[in-house]
Symmetry: C2
Amino acid sequence: VASNKAPIGIFDSGIGGLTVVKAVMDALPGEDIIYFGDTARVPYGIKSMETVREYGLQITTFLLRKKVKMILIACNTVSAAAEPQIVERAQPVPVLGVVKAGSRAACDVLQPTDKVGVIGTLATVNSGTYEAAIQDINPKMRVFSKACPLLVPLAEEGWTDNEVARKTLEIYLADIKANNLNGLILGCTHYPLFKEPIREVLGNPDIKIIDSAESIAASAKAILVEKNMLNPKEKGNFECYVSDKPQRFQQLAERFLGNTIPRIELVSLEHL
Amino acid sequence: VASNKAPIGIFDSGIGGLTVVKAVMDALPGEDIIYFGDTARVPYGIKSMETVREYGLQITTFLLRKKVKMILIACNTVSAAAEPQIVERAQPVPVLGVVKAGSRAACDVLQPTDKVGVIGTLATVNSGTYEAAIQDINPKMRVFSKACPLLVPLAEEGWTDNEVARKTLEIYLADIKANNLNGLILGCTHYPLFKEPIREVLGNPDIKIIDSAESIAASAKAILVEKNMLNPKEKGNFECYVSDKPQRFQQLAERFLGNTIPRIELVSLEHL
């Protein structure tokens, strides 16, 4: 059994998962965090389920070698494609995925017969896992999904609040908006950067926006408290691993994490 | 020495290179073509030069095992990052890259003291290889480059002629337009899909648009004619290999190739 001083492992296809790191740092400031971003193979959202599953398992093994006490799948695409397989590989280390965390959070804030929208990558939306996870909890909740493949590249270009972003959101949200939603799940770690323009385009302040990064951080905290596994430190360390140092990396990382990035270590894919 | 009946190998980071396949089919209808699209690791344009170089060499080795008589680097990013290394690896098989082909075509249609714009991915533009290749031929030509990272995802979403595409092009082209260009090189295999809206946004029909897909097909034909290596067949075969079958693959491939796609074979990355 892992020590309570062991780090939490968090991973994503790229650096979007740093929004989850940020949420975990806010919720659990004493925890050491090890992050892996698969920047050499990003984006996962357009790849096949089989490929995404294989990549997710490789990264899980990498984190287990780092002796983590918990794994957070910060990537909706991996969470949708491979959560059961990762849970099995990681045993007895607990695994949380953004899909289940976001679905549970949506069911907590909405009524059982409400209508909820989900936006995510092509792979996440095509997998239907949000629908399944939500209807597991509330079989009567209606779920409307929409793939928004351009939002990740827009976020990485820093265009989260200009005319192109708003026009893109208008096109993507038109269908699901027509269903008079009660809530909308941001089913991709990049999407919290669009929270404000999404609110504007939805045009109805009563629609609850569920940020799966915040949801998974809250779930992680609940589990660590319950298992009596909180790190007693005042301020945790943060180690960041990537499989490639992409163009504009520093700038992008700061956009997501919202503060100075520590030293980044490059991990060759052969060592995964 | 390869037989004239050997196939031409063409590769790209993804399926954008199918625009080059189409141009080669038009220019050289008798040639057999083997295409490799690295769809498991697309896009290359945001990755580091070292990573792009490694991937390019792996694919070159794959094509050489297929006994190709010529290799066309249909990816501007690889062409910018690794052309000399690929030329060396492939010897004595001739290698052509889109960067040199596009640069030569630009110098052919423009005056030596003209001003030319280049648009491409972050990696292509940051590498400065178009500038170097053009000024190798015409040292007095002035070159203005602009990275347009959103155009690839827009093309893959099929948004090549809507309001979002036009607004995006207006933003990207504003700087270089201010330089009173005489020509513009489309330095990415996805960009020919935006030819019409680019013309509109440039707003000046005298600006010559250079499509590097057409340029490389013309260069390939010239070399095969010169070396007396044309395939005498009436109609060539087309074999298509990819490293992943991505979401919406068929639909996308048809968008690029403009006709029915043959059987696609999946190649595991371990076999590269």
